[in-house]
């Protein structure tokens, strides 16, 4: 894995970089989105349709090794030859992170000094560094985060301090066990404590890692608390190594993370939208302005539409007129509305394709704004006009 910063803005921490991952056909520009997966493949998008997403933007996937504990042994994965071979995704970059924010959630109460605890569909699991490294060495991802003890925002100071101590110790374990597979990203935790975040970042920065995985977000902290915490961490981390984070999913959170200097994001936003029958429609205008698109439908606002609404029963137009995704090029809102009504899986497939495509385009527009030097204005315009619409809809309904 190779990473280089191409342009960094002085006004904020935002930067455009280039990530080269062994298996990907072309270098990937950052800030970039990692697609969420279940057992290595997208939840609904079939491998046949993955190439229809923008490439190479869509070539990065986030995989949780814990998913495979449900039915697939590490020896078998090894025998097959690792994740890329097993998933038939030889041209994709895979980042292994235990937490997937949907079904594998860190359970801080059950964590011990021996390992981190996760709630998974197989029950509560205690993952020790040794087991984790065994998984990683069999799976051979391109990038992997070290094992972290993530805690929610409301734990005591003592518990928070313990989590930092454990995370650092496990990082050292991971490094010494050296799975000889992929690039290690050191995990940085510290909850909502500025001192602990700083301490953790300083310690991790001393270790020989290829990048940083900033955890502990999306676990109960307020969105306004985050900028300070991020800044504390970013000020310490060297610029030339990539930063990956977890738990920042909404557009506002993505922008917040990018402004702080994060390069890689996973997001469960797309999955939640898809399950809810929503399709993203927010404007991808490069000024950031969110024009009022469709604010009069039930359950919809100008950023997304709810395709379950009966208003779409006869709507023979695509979700977005000039979207080039497979869904918008081939199907209408009426068809998706029907599929949702009759509980057909194809609805989720089509929505996941569109939503992923739209979000990847969002990242593309952001990168262009950073290159232009207009990122701060973009962000301001985006946030304010979005807030205006939400306010307007809240008042009118």
């Amino acid at each position: 894995m190779k990473f280089a910063v191409k342009k960094a803005l002085s006004s904020s921490g935002a930067r455009v970089g280039v990530l080269e991952v062994g298996s990907c056909p072309a270098p990937i520009e950052t800030p970039a989105l990692l697609l969420a997966t279940r057992k290595g493949l997208p939840h609904f998008i079939s491998p046949e349709l993955l190439p229809s997403l923008p490439s190479p933007d869509s070539n990065l996937l986030q995989v949780s090794p814990l998913h495979f504990l449900e039915g697939l042994s590490t020896t078998t994965i090894s025998k097959i030859g690792g994740l890329h071979q097993m998933l038939g995704l030889k041209q994709h970059g895979i980042a292994a992170v235990p937490r997937d924010s949907i079904q594998c959630l860190p359970e801080s109460k059950a964590a011990t000094r021996l390992g981190a605890s996760f709630e998974t569909p197989c029950g509560r699991l205690l993952i020790k560094p040794k087991d984790y490294i065994e998984m990683i060495s069999c799976m051979k991802p391109n990038i992997w985060a070290s094992l972290a003890d993530e805690v929610p925002a409301w734990v005591s100071e003592k518990r928070n301090k313990t989590s930092v101590d454990r995370t650092l110790r496990w990082l050292d374990d991971c490094i010494s066990l050296y799975p000889a597979a992929g690039s290690i990203f050191g995990a940085i935790v510290g909850g909502t404590s500025l001192e602990e975040r700083k301490r953790c970042a300083e310690e991790v920065a001393k270790r020989n890692v290829s990048g940083y995985w900033i955890g502990g977000f999306g676990l109960g902290e307020g969105i306004d608390e985050r900028p300070a915490l991020l800044r504390e961490v970013m000020d310490i981390l060297p610029d030339e190594k990539p930063r990956l984070t977890c738990g920042l999913g909404l557009p506002e959170e993505i922008l917040q993370g990018i402004a702080a200097g994060i390069d890689l994001f996973d997001s469960t936003y797309i999955y939640s939208l898809t399950l809810g029958g929503f399709a993203l429609t927010f404007s991808l205008d490069k000024s950031g302005e969110q024009h009022n698109l469709q604010s009069d439908q039930i359950g919809s606002d100008s950023t997304k539409i709810n395709l379950r609404a009966t208003a779409y029963r006869k709507d023979m137009s695509p979700i977005l007129e000039n979207c080039t995704c497979y869904t918008c090029q081939n199907h209408t809102k009426a068809y998706i509305n029907h599929l949702l009504n009759v509980h057909e899986m194809l609805a989720q497939t089509l929505l996941e394709i569109h939503n992923t495509h739209h979000y990847l385009r969002f990242f593309h527009v952001i990168r262009a704004a950073i290159q232009d030097g207009s990122f701060e204005e973009f962000r301001q315009a985006f946030l304010e006009s979005r807030r205006e619409h939400f306010k307007g809809e809240a008042i009118s309904t």
């Binding site: 057992k39 046949e48 495979f68 697939l72 078998t76 497979y326 090029q329 599929l339 057909e344 989720q348």
Partner: protein, 490 residues
């Protein structure tokens, strides 16, 4: 009316290039000559199969053209030209009950090689309603499916799904599942709904009776089916671009079947279906009815055996002279974790699969078998949507491959060898079921090389045998009698 732009993703291992194709909406009411194009059917192995130059339709306007390209005794391989697509028979039609084949996109279906898909009138009339489909320009437009489509009459679902359905001379009376109101589906109404949906082939409303029933009800149903066909024909508003198929009923009684066939043939319909089977009758009766009907139905029109089914049954029926099949089996069994393979079935839920790193079927060139192992699919099936998507893909690919192989082996003059290879792979011990042997004898195909010296009845088997067999040899259970609605897969 919007215009659809098709997106063709290129082979998955290269960078995707958007190649938009303009697709004309299919709302013409005249015979759409311009849609016809001579088709070379390409197998995924790369061979070109029977590239037949398109022959101009006859002067009388027809919505269907059936041309036999090859034969072996009763078996035939043909080109079936429909308003939306030129198909090769024998063919299998996947069932897309509610306007979609569970979880698969149109472009995947095309990749797999689906030529015709089936829509269920009953379900579609409920949601999204035939009126909405008509407004959308027909189900083709609504789904954006560019190839051919067939709709059934709605009668079967009604009888099998609704507890309080009752059949009278007028039609099928039932309680609406939406609001409990009493409703009536008449032959006229069924045809009208199907006219609005707009499929290439529509089915007459028939009086369906399970073959396990005996007595005068069967005779009543058969005669009523004949009376109803006239009402269907009268009600049919689009004979120039929709083909109305009649359905032969009569239970397992050869005389009744004969009367029904003659009555339908008299009406000179574009095609005929053999109905009332695939409902629990024993295999021996099943093949005899198919054989009798295929012998009596006209040569130059397609024959559709409804509700079939298992690959073995398709091979036998094709040997006896049938052309078209439909069944929910491949996609339904995929959702229970069962894959179709030449040896029979493979139950991917089984613990033994958890460390089996072979592909589902080493001889299968589909995307699933080329990329995934049994172990990986095992960890997905019944737990994640992707598992049933991948298995449905493979199973349908298997059925399309079987259809293609049937067609090409007949055209290339090697049908008997294909049948023997098929049976040898499925019954390596030579224990071909007796009913198959009998059917093949009537079909004039020598399968003695596949049969063990003393072929015996397969209804009984010893428990030792099951223990020593591979798990996927449980196919014996599936082949003693026909019960597609029961969950054999569990």
């Amino acid at each position: 009316m919007y215009s659809l732009v098709r997106f063709h993703p290129v082979m998955r291992n290269s960078i995707a290039i958007a190649v938009p194709l303009r697709l004309r909406p299919n709302i013409s009411n005249t015979l759409p000559h311009h849609k016809f194009r001579p088709t070379c059917f390409h197998s995924h192995e790369g061979h070109t199969i029977s590239c037949v130059p398109y022959s101009a339709p006859q002067t009388k306007p027809m919505a269907l053209h059936f041309e036999i390209l090859g034969r072996f005794n009763r078996a035939r391989a043909a080109q079936l030209t429909l308003p939306h697509f030129v198909c090769q028979t024998p063919l299998f039609m996947p069932v897309g009950t509610q306007g979609t084949i569970k979880g698969l996109t149109n472009n995947e279906l095309e990749r797999i090689g689906c030529q015709i898909i089936l829509g269920n009138t009953y379900h579609l009339a409920l949601r999204p309603t035939s009126e909405l489909l008509e407004e959308a320009g027909g189900l083709h437009n609504f789904m954006n499916w560019p190839r051919a489509m067939l709709t059934d009459s709605g009668g079967f679902q009604m009888v099998s799904l609704l507890h309080l359905a009752d059949i009278t001379e007028e039609g099928v009376t039932f309680q609406s599942p939406v609001d409990g109101k009493p409703m009536l589906l008449t032959p006229e109404e069924s045809i009208q709904i199907q006219n609005r949906i707009g499929a290439d082939i529509i089915m007459a409303l028939d009086d369906v009776v399970k073959t396990t029933i005996t007595g005068p009800r069967i005779e009543e149903a058969m005669y009523r089916t004949l009376r109803w066909i006239d009402r269907c024909i009268a009600a049919h508003k689009r004979p120039h671009d929709q083909n109305l198929f009649g359905i032969v009923q009569g239970g397992l009684d050869p005389e009744l079947r004969d009367i029904c066939v003659k009555g339908l043939v008299d009406r000179n319909l574009p095609g005929y279906a053999i109905g009332g089977l695939a409902g629990g009758e024993d295999k021996d009766s099943f093949w005899r009815v198919v054989a009798q009907c295929t012998a009596a139905l006209p040569e130059d029109k397609p024959r559709y055996v409804m509700g079939v089914g298992y690959p073995l049954d398709i091979v036998v029926c094709s040997a006896l002279g049938a052309d078209m099949y439909d069944c929910v089996y491949p996609t339904r069994t995929a959702r229970f974790g069962t894959a179709l393979i030449p040896e029979g079935v493979l139950k991917l839920k089984h613990r033994a699969m958890a460390d089996d790193t072979r592909p589902i079927d080493p001889t299968c060139p589909c995307m699933v078998c080329k990329n995934y192992t049994r172990a990986y699919i095992h960890c997905l099936v019944t737990k994640d949507a992707m598992g049933s998507q991948l298995l449905s893909y493979h199973n349908l690919y298997y059925m399309m491959r079987l259809s293609r192989n049937l067609h090409t082996s007949i055209v290339e003059g090697r049908f008997p060898k294909f049948v023997c290879d098929f049976l040898q792979t499925m019954f390596p011990k030579g224990d071909v079921p007796e009913w198959v042997c009998n059917a093949m004898e009537v079909a004039g195909i020598d399968i003695s090389s596949c049969c063990a010296p003393f072929p015996s009845c397969q209804e009984k088997y010893s428990s030792d045998e099951i223990g020593t067999n591979d798990i996927h040899m449980e196919l014996r259970l599936t082949h003693t009698s026909y019960r597609p609605t029961r969950n054999l897969e569990i």
